[in-house]
């Protein structure tokens, strides 16, 4: 411990509890990977992937204060990159049965991890291209422009038959994504986020969120800094998209309809714009909650037949939730706070002081 503390001394102190917590997480993943059924595993994978993507979104929207709605588009870019470069070459003929894949790509196959990273980079590249025009715009214009971009991406992917196989999409993508992959990468990205946010660049991001004019007057280059954040966010999202593709094993343009972005919006709003731990918690709540609420779509909920329980109710509740949060709990679960050990400590103290009989238990948290 000592030497770690010493090396990062000027930065973050890695709390011994954090190490224990991480070990605990790894063990849990290991156990889950062994003993949990594929349905639960699929859900847990989704949680991790949504965490990654939401973190990417929160970096831009929450920490840098730029309201971007391009997630679905960046996700699509990452997903398609992985799909195109990992589909077994022999399978391609049958998949691209309307129009053969362009010879440029037809015979290139990359190892998963390479394709995944490539997806991240390509996605960041797109961020660079659209950031040019968009990041100079006033906030709400950025929202509509990024949303427009994600629609354009979808439409382009629908029409470029020989690269993306158009509407048919690409199937039989090797389903490599496992709990180890998704959670491994999620953890890495969480840690990177924490380190980034607590660096000089992270402070620059936050300063822009707080007050663009003051930030600029303090020598922070707005465009360059926004672009950095935007591209990193897109990179994360691209990675998430890649994992998503390798989880489903099939992609097509319809999946990346821009309403998909609203999922991640709900997550970051619920978790707290500008909170990493909040995002992580919210990703789990929303992903599992959505699955949980399924019973609302089933006529025979609670055994008794209620006419109100029929397909569609779940999404109504889901979107009503977003409204409730933004109207009444604008700061979300964490606000801009982080679930650090002393944060938990404080909370526990307050709870204890409230009723010293009950014995609360602390769980979860980031290294910070």
């Amino acid at each position: 411990m000592e030497n770690i503390q010493h090396r990062f001394g000027a930065y973050i102190k890695i709390h011994w509890k954090t190490i224990i917590f991480l070990v605990f997480v790894l063990i849990t993943i290991g156990l889950a990977d062994q003993f949990v059924n594929s349905y639960i595993r699929r859900l847990l994978n989704l949680c991790a992937i949504y965490t990654i993507i939401s973190l990417g979104m929160n970096l831009v929207n929450g920490f840098t204060g730029q309201f971007s709605l391009g997630q679905a588009g960046f996700m699509a870019v990452g997903a398609y990159t992985v799909a195109i470069f990992t589909v077994p070459i022999e399978a391609r003929a049958t998949i691209f049965y309307l129009a053969p894949m362009t010879p440029l790509l037809a015979n290139i196959q990359l190892p998963f991890i390479v394709a995944l990273l490539l997806g991240g980079f390509v996605s960041a590249g797109f961020a660079f291209l659209i950031g040019g025009p968009c990041l100079r715009l006033r906030g709400d214009y950025l929202a509509i422009a990024t949303l427009g971009f994600s629609e354009i991406i979808r439409i382009v992917f629908t029409n470029t038959q020989t690269i993306t196989n158009g509407a048919l999409g690409i199937k039989s993508i090797p389903t490599i994504t496992s709990l180890w992959w998704s959670y491994g990468i999620a953890l890495i990205i969480i840690i990177l986020m924490i380190l980034l946010i607590n660096s000089s660049y992270g402070r620059a991001f936050k300063s822009i969120r707080e007050d663009e004019i003051a930030a600029e007057a303090m020598g922070v280059g707005l465009f360059k800094t926004k672009m950095t954040s935007f591209m990193i966010g897109a990179f994360f999202t691209g990675i998430g998209g890649g994992l998503f593709a390798a989880l489903l094993g099939t992609v097509d343009p319809k999946q990346f309809y821009f309403t998909l972005t609203y999922n991640f919006l709900l997550i970051i709003v619920l978790g707290g714009m500008g909170s990493i731990s909040g995002t992580v918690i919210a990703s789990f709540i929303v992903t599992l909650g959505q699955e949980w609420l399924r019973f609302l779509d089933e006529p025979m909920a609670f055994g008794l037949d209620l006419p109100i329980f029929r397909p569609g109710l779940r999404m109504v509740v889901f979107s009503a939730l977003l409204m409730v949060i933004v109207l009444f709990y604008r700061k979300g679960i964490m606000g801009t706070n982080e679930l650090t050990w002393d944060f938990i400590g404080k909370k526990i103290k307050t709870i204890k002081s409230k009723f010293n009989r009950k014995k609360p238990s602390a769980q979860g948290g980031d290294s910070k």
């Binding site: 594929s38 489903l248 709990y329």
Partner: protein, 387 residues
Amino acid sequence: MKKTLALLLSLTLVITMVAGCSGNSAATTNSDVIKIGVFEPLTGANAAGGELEVDGIKLANQLRPEVLGKKVELVVADNKSDKAEATTAAARLIEKDKVVTLLGSWGSSLSIAAGDVVKTNKVPAVALSATNPQVTAGNDYYFRVCFLDPFQGTVMANYASKNLNAKKVAIVQEVSNDYSVGLAKFFTDAFVKLTGDPNAIVATGNYNTGDQDFNGILTNIKAANPDVIFAPGNYTESALIIKQARALGITAPFIGGDTWETNEFITVGGADVEGAVMSTFFDDTNPLTEAGKTFVAEYKKAYPDRQNIPAVTALGYDGYMLTLDAIERAGSADPQAIRDALATTKDFEGATGMITIDANGDAQKNGAIIKVVKDGKFTYLDTVTIQ
């Protein structure tokens, strides 16, 4: 006051959540019940189609609620016409509800999405109206009771050139719909082959799901002046396309695929879709088999108010009956055994005709029904068989 309201809202939410999960967890595996999973789009773009198939499945279930002396329980899951949902829905049915086999889904891409799940879990699935070759290709656990797009495309091409003796055809395809572009492609190939004229397709118009204004592409097509217009795609857009075409003074007949056969197609299209011709799987006016007759009778009993029986409902019926037949032949509710039984299906008498499953897991059907919209009804026109 706000706060309290908010608290109340969230409280109810939490309660429902808890109640819900408890309700779900109550669904335990019961030995004297055989569970069959149905995953269909009950909301979203494909909702109408999904419901029609579920009708058929439910009807069949009422007719034959037991197999191997055990009660058959249907577990229906909505896949929201969305791929990610489709995979989770399938996984949920298999892992959580412990179904032994699956039925569905309307919309090939949704079935394809679920393909990997059924494959990895080694649980068989029967697609009902998913006509895309990709559904069963390279997947030993996916079967289907309907014919394939290449066949359907050929059928319509034949109909266009032989019955309507068309020389020039225009195509309007829903570029964001795999079914539509696939069918358009197969039609084109077949039609070009038949006419021997590489330029037989004089115009192509693309649109996206949800579009409502087609005047642009239709004006182009009008200029190209085709004999026939082939417009496979969702019933909603197709109906609008035909309406707008007529409004633009296009008189060429419209022909399409099985997806047209929904009541919405007629309600939306109104008088303008009169004479629209489509290929489909089943004709309720003269069923090919005994099973077909019983199905029609039962359907009329169950839904006296409906004037015509959609083919996909018949396919839903067949899918269920075929599955139960397979379970019976397998003599057990073990997924693997059911799968093997399904794979070796021979001359099973379905409502839509005799079903024999081939090596790909597809139903060998060499006959398609041609129907036309007449007086606001889908009426039998012809049966096209291709060897």
